[in-house]
Amino acid sequence: MNILTLFIIIPILTVIGILCTKDYKGARVISAIGMGLQLVTSVTLIFLFLAERRAGNTSEMLFMVDYVWFEALNIHYLVGVDGISVAMITLTSIVSFAGIFASWEVKDLSREFFISLIILATGVFGFFISLDLFTMFLFYELAVIPMYLLIGIWGSGPKEYSAMKLTLMLMGGSALLLVGLFGIYFNSAPDGGHLTFNILEISKITIPIEAQRFFFPFTFIGFGILGALFPFHTWSPDGHASAPTAVSMLHAGVLMKLGGYGCFRVAMFLMPEAAHELAWIFLILTTISVVYGAFGAIWQKDLKYINAYSSVSHCGLVLFALLMMNETAMDGAIIQMISHGLMTALFFALIGMIYGRTHTRMINEMGGLMKVMPFLAVCYVIAGLASLGLPGLSGFVAEMTIFVGSFQHPDLFHRVATIIACSSIVITAVYILRVVGILLFGPIRNNDFLQLKDAKWYEKMSTVTLIVAVAGIGLFPLWLSDMIMNSLKPIMDQLSLF
């Protein structure tokens, strides 16, 4: 069987396995095994992929499988990966593996919880391997809908409101997206051939420029909403703050990346002329996202809100870099997606663990946690340093590449935008260090906290997995960068055709 289809089959089998269990203990073990297998498969995929490339296979996508599904509309089940998708799949499997361990203690309706979580992951995996717009859209929606139940049932705070807001905004985004996809589909055969949803085939033809102008914004905003594009980001802070730990991890870590990935794989790759023409509008919006998110984070007192706003800023940076449309910046954008995915998952995992002990997420009610729970505190510091871009961790590699790439544009507009966006690094440092200072160091403000215990084994499992990955990218960025660069080539060719 094709290795990519395994990414769909394993979760389905896991769900069936969970259905056979009786209580939370069985459910979590089965889920851990399933996601562990998924992780193993994705690591295998990396090696297989690199081996193929080394053997000289230069085709754009590898491991392709193509089944005709709805023949009349030319809908296929078409999967395949390039370096970028491999990286995204690996990210997803790491985060979902860590997510299972972070929700080890979910006991209320735990089978349902793990099933929803795994369906969510399935949607994401499916999205990253799809090369057919129809299946891509199907998996996209499949990933969004379990969020409602996950936040609504197991969330905290104003969970019903947040869940509804998030679901409706993302579904509204998919409404725009769907129109965009139809636009692409019905213009995919300008010379009167077969209409197609196949991304690779569409990339070979040129969609008429009028159509591109009309449909590019639909597609870009449709995906952009999921990538927290200003001013459509408002679902993100509420959603993340109310979601249970593992869901915040998966959502900020992976689901938001669907937006960025879709933006370049579909919107920019298939409609390059319009991307060039309209980039400036979105560049302004993403610059606002970057700075606004960072400023937003400064004002927050709730740990989850801080991190949620920081996600808006970092995901804004992804779109910002993509719109710069040069190789270095786009390379940075992809690394940023992965780096932010791991880092923010780590953050949310830690916040969940801290909240589970202190029962508050307000930073000014806590303090001195370093003395009480040194392991978690150290992990938090590492995550913070990665987030503000300390060399040796993944954040530095990503942001460095992005800003170097962006500054290569000689014109004033791009340079000003870059400089403004750059300032977010400083702001990030402010809010990260402020939180670390208040939360971890300083006096212990509540004597009850002295009784708290440090991380348990499953929590260590979850955090260590993520930290290893964050440090791995920081220390050995080149092989990741190589893998991405090779795959960026067709996209760059497409974008610089004229």
Binding site: E71, A72, E141, I145, A175, F182, F186, F214
Partner: protein, 473 residues
Amino acid sequence: MNLQQFLIMRHEILLIGVVLLVLLAELFIKNEKKHYVIPFTIVLFLLITIAGFLPATTGSLFGGMYQTSNLIILFKNILNVAVFIILLQSASWLRKEINHERISEFYIILLSSLVGMNYMISSGDFLMFYLGLETATIPLTALAAFDKYKNKSAEAGIKFILSSALSSGILLFGLSILYGTTGSIYFTEVADKLVSSPLLVLGFIFFVSGMAFKISLVPFHFWTADVYEGAPVNVTSYLSVVSKGAAAFIFMIILFTVFKSLSDMWGGVLYLLSILTMTIGNLFAMRQKNMKRFLAFSSISQAGFILLGIMGASQLGMTSVVYFVMVYVFSNLAAFGVVSVISDKTGLENMDDYNGMYRTNPKLSLIMMLALFSLAGIPPVAGFFGKFFLFTSAASKGYYWLVLIAVLNATVSLYYYLLVVKAMFINKNDNPIAKFRSTFTDKLALIICVAGIFAIGFLSPIYELIRSLSFGF
């Protein structure tokens, strides 16, 4: 007319046979054993449903008054399956003491109405069309008022007969104008002689309005909610699925064949009607607390989506409509099935009563959720595919703004479907609906629906089959 020709009407003849057999059973079964009629009818109906799928001859009868094609036969089979599910769902309700005397009555009326629908969708001229329509509608009035001890049910019956009489009148007026301008009532001849003239346009508008009543399109939808609420649940599901589906189908067939040359005009009319229907149906659905009213308004908005496929006037459009109706049959019947089971066991019909139901009746809640997701068009259930193809057919004609409005409406509809999901899964309740066991027939009906909800989407041969039978221009 020899036997071979006679068999062209196989579906109708078999149905009439069942009706007569039930009538005989009513005469010969002793009063205290009346409930044996239930399995008797269900088994008989199952047999004719299966017989419907056997290869059939197509052709026309009575000089073109009656016609069948493979598409029509397929649609009759869809209706048969839907009615079979409804029969299963109504079994435990009919077993109640209060209905004991009227079991065969229910079956005879319901199946006669189905005979009417079958003739209606097979009609080849306006006379047969009208006969079929009335045969289908008048028994429905009796059904709507079936719970005659309840005021609401009686009210539903009266409302239904009055509004359908009015709409039939309008329809008939339109048809008479059509006859006046073209000199014929046969579909093929009318289509040939159709020349756009103000009088003809007037007739056409009356015709569309009459049909809009039957499919309950906005602004002709006012009867729907009250009738749906008052009628017994199983009758409501028949009204909203079978009756609406059949009316939408013949509406589409007539537009595609008879009014082919006016397609620009009716495209515009439907454009407007569909936006109105989707939006207003949605806006009202949001505020409903009674599950039957809720599903009534949701089904109004679903009808708006169906128009999206019709106005494309393409093969793609027709395929999408038939496919969507099929998906809609299973999804809506699953939703109504759950409502019917709960209302049978507990008498509760409000959304608030469903609070916290997942903890006590997880399976029913899950089925309800799947059904609602399918109605909202969420993958992986079939509703997603149904909606997607409808949107595709509208987009293929370049109606991108309409598609946008429709998809946004689908998002709005997701909001109120999620309200029910929220009630069942999230809301806390100190005394939720107690755990109960459903009867075999209820379970069977729900299992068929769920299987349909999953299978239709993933099995593309079904779509390809419909596609090969559809036509357009």
